[in-house]
Amino acid sequence: MYRYDEFDAAFVSERVQQFSDQVRRRIAGELTEDQFRPLRLMNGLYLQLHAYMLRIAIPYGTLAARQLRMLAHVARTYDRGYGHFTTRQNMQFHWPKLRDVPAILADLASVEMHSIQTSGNCVRNVTVDQFAGAAADEIIDPRPVAEIIRQWSSLHPEFIYLPRKFKIAMTGAPNDRAAVKFHDIGLMAQTNGSGEVGWAVYVGGGLGRTPMVAKLINGFVPHEHLLAYLEAILRVYNRYGRRDNKFKARIKILVHEEGLENIKGQVEEEFAQMRGGILTLPEEELERINAYFALPAYEDHGVVNIDIGREKILDPAYGRFLENNTFPHARQGYTSITVSLKPIGGVPGDITADQMDAVAELAEAYSFSEIRVTHEQNVVLPHVALTDLRAVYDGLVEAGLADGNVGEITDMITCPGLDYCALANARSIPIAQDIAHRFAAPERSREIGKLKIKISGCINACGHHHVGHIGILGVEKKGTELYQITVGGDGTEDAAVGRILGPGFVAADVPDAIEKLVDAYIEKRESPDETFIAAYRRLGDAPFKEALYGNG
């Protein structure tokens, strides 16, 4: 994976010094909260309901074991012994003390990590497919280009005060696991007629209060021109994006209001001016960065057969883990393991310091020291030899991380909600916990199959509820928390926004409502192979609406 050179290290260290000075001025009273606010936000430091929250960037969700160990150290030393993985592949600490933040950032800098641009109206951390560089279905590993975009966008002087935040997601595979069509810019690797690999560029996607599926603005941009193309989009957005209303300031609104063709025209005009200029990426530079992402030194294990059916009989929990938590690897004899952070009754995305150390140790022993973070709030050991599977599983059991529920109904995305977040209208974590308890039995979960539930505690949609097969949105109505339920959302290449079927439910009734939807699906599906989302696409709203609200 990418390693800092002297320049990167000096850059982050200067930034840490700069922010340390700002924190000192704040503590000394030289800066008011109003003056400090934009500065801390540029460094990922939020003020939440109970405390500051520090968001650490995990560029394109790739972590080295030593970095995860440092996150464990930070959690243990400065926080309450745990951290929280977000849907942006970042980690959040919810209880740091302001006076400790400079020390935290210095510790992170020592392992090439930082919190730059994890908040504020700038280009945020680039997210990618968590199986990048490992997935069997991949055209190209998107991470080298993601790293180049990270560098280009870091403290970019023109785009540091955009109308609103700006999120870029990439996938190197045709099966989109990074929800690229729900980002301000989504990049999907493409092969053109001459066999060259480049990028299809989607623009104007997003969730929040106005969910939009991104639109294709350019079907093929070669690597060498990608930065110029991105700069052209950012410039058009910076100049013409709405600034009069925070809720209409994302690029999705600009694209929606002005029309794709109009925006495309402006972007292409700008691109024509920039194309071939200073942002042209030379082949050598791409190769230089590519070298950091060279394939690990895989060993030849020959053909390894694992009989999942047999394992399921011998050890049902392990069998279930094999069935759900492994992902086809590009290299024969290897697999990618998803470590579920969704234990029944736990907080989705939370991980203790000890668990971080355990995962780091397993990564060192069995996955070339590499770890990934998924936008679904799990972590991945990307390169595990099939021969080591059982050892890894046993290690995870010991760490309390062996839940075999990945992709199933209890593998929910959940925002922190009203338990932590100052923006939230409603709690989300307790809702997720109630649902998880309801569907805790593995047999029941398996019967339901692949089903994504996503929960947000407010309309900002950090829990991606719009793209949940079942989405749950917490709202506040007349002093009580109500939960709106949507059906049919999809964050993949078949992007769709879920539909609201009727009035919301009070918290206590949410698990029943979910159960009704699930029962309706099981009753109507053509076979156990037809997933919830496939059945919904075939059947439409009606049976689900009826399940929730009756015939009335």
């Binding site: 200067e14 403290l155 002087p157 023109e158 100049r239 990426l281």
Partner: protein
């Protein structure tokens, strides 16, 4: 600060009796008794130790007439700046002859100063304070030391700063400044000229009521302040030679009040914003909003005065790209620091349209944004925040001096950018 230096650097040596004497003198002479004031000064108070400076401007004739009556051989210094209207030079000769003045001394700027600071004669355009300094203040300083007192033609009504001007002033370097016309109103001047049939300055009839050097003087409208035509459009009222006299007169703008930061220091700012009622053909040293410029483009292009442009968020710099050569300064407005549109405007002006003049940030200019502004090509800042001023003065901006992405033209030397960018950024 390079301009408007105090005339005298000596420490004040005030003598209480002398100060009382000045108070008494001011009490002794009535409001209209200009000739008496002058006679007292020239014959009694400062006999042989007093001189005067005259601009030979629109109303210089009155005081020169008084001088000719009291003592035609009183030294009269004329600052030949080299920038006068030819009519003014003619007028010097007219008045000398007519009034019988026999001791008019012409002072010229030091040629080495001109060669050094104003080789092409356009300093007035970029830095009028410095222009006044080398053409007026410096030459005068050389003769000032030789006299204990000066006669001036200043009047209370001329500028707001002179509203309390007395007949006799003790200057901070212990000289006496005599202002015989201090209490004259504009009407008194006109009456005196008529009564004595004094020749008018040839430009007076053309609307010039207060006349200095040609480039910095324009005509004034009926009813307008007569000095409104001096340094029109600039926040400048005095040329520097009247500064620092006994506290009753305008003081030089102190460093702390300067808001323009450029080339490492706070400096005087000749520019102002466009105001309602400004006239395109007469605007100078004014940042004209893009919309106003486009509406009256022909008038602005026809005028020969230096003008600037104000680019607000939402303005399309493409619309004025063809006229950039017309602007001596462009102000990018950041009404709130979170409005980042100005960064794009700045880069487009510099990088795409090749604008090389002053590009200044105005509005909500704060320390943490300045490094980004500079990278986008902004080379001057108008700063009102005290904290930002402090940071600039201490050269202690919160800044990351390394950067990843190339912006700007080849002029930006990337300290340690990516290898491919480093290579391309070399000219």
């Amino acid at each position: 600060m390079s301009a408007a230096s105090p005339m005298v650097a000596a420490e004040p040596r005030h003598d209480k009796l002398r100060q009382l004497g000045i108070v008494a003198l001011n009490g002794m002479y009535g409001e209209m008794d200009a000739e008496g004031v002058l006679r007292q000064a020239v014959e009694e108070l400062l006999a042989g130790d007093i001189a005067m400076v005259s601009s030979f401007g629109a109303d210089s004739a009155v005081l020169l007439h008084l001088v000719s009556k009291v003592d035609p051989s009183l030294p009269v210094y004329f600052l030949e700046t080299g920038k006068h209207f030819p009519e003014t030079l003619d007028y010097v000769e007219t008045l000398k002859t007519r009034l019988g003045l026999c001791n008019v001394v012409t002072l010229r700027p030091d040629p080495s100063d001109l060669a050094k600071f104003d080789p092409d004669g356009t300093l007035w355009e970029t830095d009028p304070d410095s222009c006044c300094h080398i053409r007026k203040t410096e030459p005068l300083e050389n003769v000032l030391a030789g006299f204990g007192g000066w006669v001036t033609g200043r009047k209370r009504f001329q500028t707001a700063e002179r509203g309390v001007l007395p007949h006799f002033e003790l200057t901070s370097d212990d000289r006496i400044k005599v202002n015989p016309l201090a209490y004259f109103s504009n009407a008194d001047i006109e009456a005196y000229k008529a009564e004595h049939d004094l020749p008018q300055h040839p430009l007076y009839g053309e609307g010039y009521k207060s006349i200095g050097c040609a480039p910095c003087t324009s005509a004034v409208a009926e009813g307008e302040d007569p000095r409104a035509g001096r340094w029109r459009g600039l926040n400048k009222k005095e040329c520097g030679i009247h500064f620092d006299f006994n506290g009753s007169i305008a003081k030089p703008v102190s460093q702390s009040q300067l808001t323009l930061f450029r080339d490492g220091e706070f400096r005087t700012d000749p520019w102002r914003g466009w105001s309602e009622g400004d006239v395109a053909s007469e605007a100078r040293y004014t940042h004209v909003p893009v919309s106003v410029f486009l509406e009256q483009r022909e008038a602005f292009l026809a005028s020969s005065h230096p003008i600037g442009l104000q680019v607000d968020p939402g303005d399309r710099v493409e619309d004025i790209a063809g006229d950039l050569a017309r602007f001596s300064s462009i102000a990018i407005n950041f009404p709130a620091f979170v409005d980042g549109r100005g960064y794009s405007s700045a880069r487009l002006l510099r990088e795409r349209y090749g604008y090389e003049g002053e590009l200044r940030a105005v509005g909500d200019v704060l320390t943490d944004q300045i490094p980004f502004m500079r990278r986008c090509g902004i080379n001057a800042l108008v700063v009102t925040s005290a904290a930002t001023r402090k940071a600039l003065e201490a050269d202690a901006l919160a800044e990351v001096r390394l950067y990843y992405q190339p912006v700007g033209t080849a002029r930006e030397i990337p300290v340690g950018t990516r290898p491919f960018l480093r290579r391309n950024a070399r000219p």
